[in-house]
Amino acid sequence: MAYSEKVIDHYQNPRNVGTLDPNDPSVGTGLVGAPECGDVMRLQLRINPDSGVIEDAKFKTFGCGSAIASSSFATEMIKGKTVDEAYEIKNTTIVKELNLPPVKIHCSVLAEDAIKAAIEDYKKKQESVAHAEPVAQ
């Protein structure tokens, strides 16, 4: 199967590969998998709690070239966006940008799921931080 140039570029020079501290309350971690092929993807976001802007994004993906390219592209795309904007991102944007063939569409779905899972993890953490803070007397 022939990959598009953009997929090959992201596969060979993946952007934002790495890890953020999962215990940091301003970091959201999304860990998702593709049930059909067994690929796994972890996407982490560092979010400014005051502005809600995504200041950093890192990923690690173990899977095919399209899965790596989809997550690499996703991290590039969401940096600088607000949490709400990032939550609205659809896999079809990734499909279009990377020109993914039909058999690889599930890789872009994986990236979308990972973004959503990371944001949900961040929100859950923020809630528990808010609960843990002593109420002002």
Partner: protein, 198 residues
């Protein structure tokens, strides 16, 4: 979706008689083999060619137990690709193992490599245990299904039948993660970077 069981004229069961399947394959293949149609008109020849490749694809699916099981649950509306409820602990362990493999590729020092390999193999052993548990449940469900009489119509499945097939689809997806990891581990043990193609 093409029903390969129907094409081969066999019941939709998880276990199949492989000898019978093979005999049936050869019968069907010899009837539609393109070589038998060299003198036929162009349209008939093309049709025979398409038929022959369909039969090959159906045989490949039915011959091995995992593709066959996937096909069976999908025919009843339980596609593996929709199995999103993977246990998070399984994903985490698979991720951990994959990170060890990546570390192994980066490590230059022999002792460091040995240490990482040791840790990796400990995770692999744990996952092999999980695979055995998955396969044991899979076999139990398969026997249960194969003993019963079932509708061919997904809309008419009983609650119990749905539960069996849904659980089977989930087990097959959990197994897919372990299978992909197994390929990566085996590549790492041979000192090759994992290059995954599905």
């Amino acid at each position: 979706m093409t029903d390969h069981f129907c094409r081969f004229g066999i019941d939709r069961t998880f276990a199949v008689d492989r000898d019978r399947l093979e005999r049936r394959f050869h019968e069907m293949q010899s009837a539609s083999h393109p070589d038998r149609h060299v003198t036929s008109e162009m349209g008939r020849r093309e049709q025979a060619l398409a038929e022959s490749s369909d039969i090959n694809a159906a045989y490949r699916t039915l011959r091995e137990s995992i593709p066959r099981a996937k096909h069976l649950v999908e025919l009843y509306g339980f596609p593996i690709s929709e199995q999103k409820s993977v246990p998070p602990s399984l994903l985490m362990t698979v991720m951990e193992a994959q990170e060890k493999i990546a570390e192994l590729e980066m490590a230059r020092d022999r002792l460091v490599k040995e240490k990482i390999m040791h840790e990796l193999l400990a995770i692999v052993e744990e996952l092999e245990g999980q695979r055995e548990t998955i396969d044991a449940e899979r076999e139990r469900l398969a026997r249960k299904w194969d003993l019963g009489m079932h509708t061919g119509d997904p809309a008419l499945l009983s609650a119990e039948e749905k539960e069996t097939l849904g659980r089977m689809a989930q087990l097959l997806s959990e197994r897919a993660y372990l299978e992909t990891l197994r390929l990566s581990v085996s590549a790492a043990r041979h000192g090759k970077p994992a290059f995954i193609q599905h």
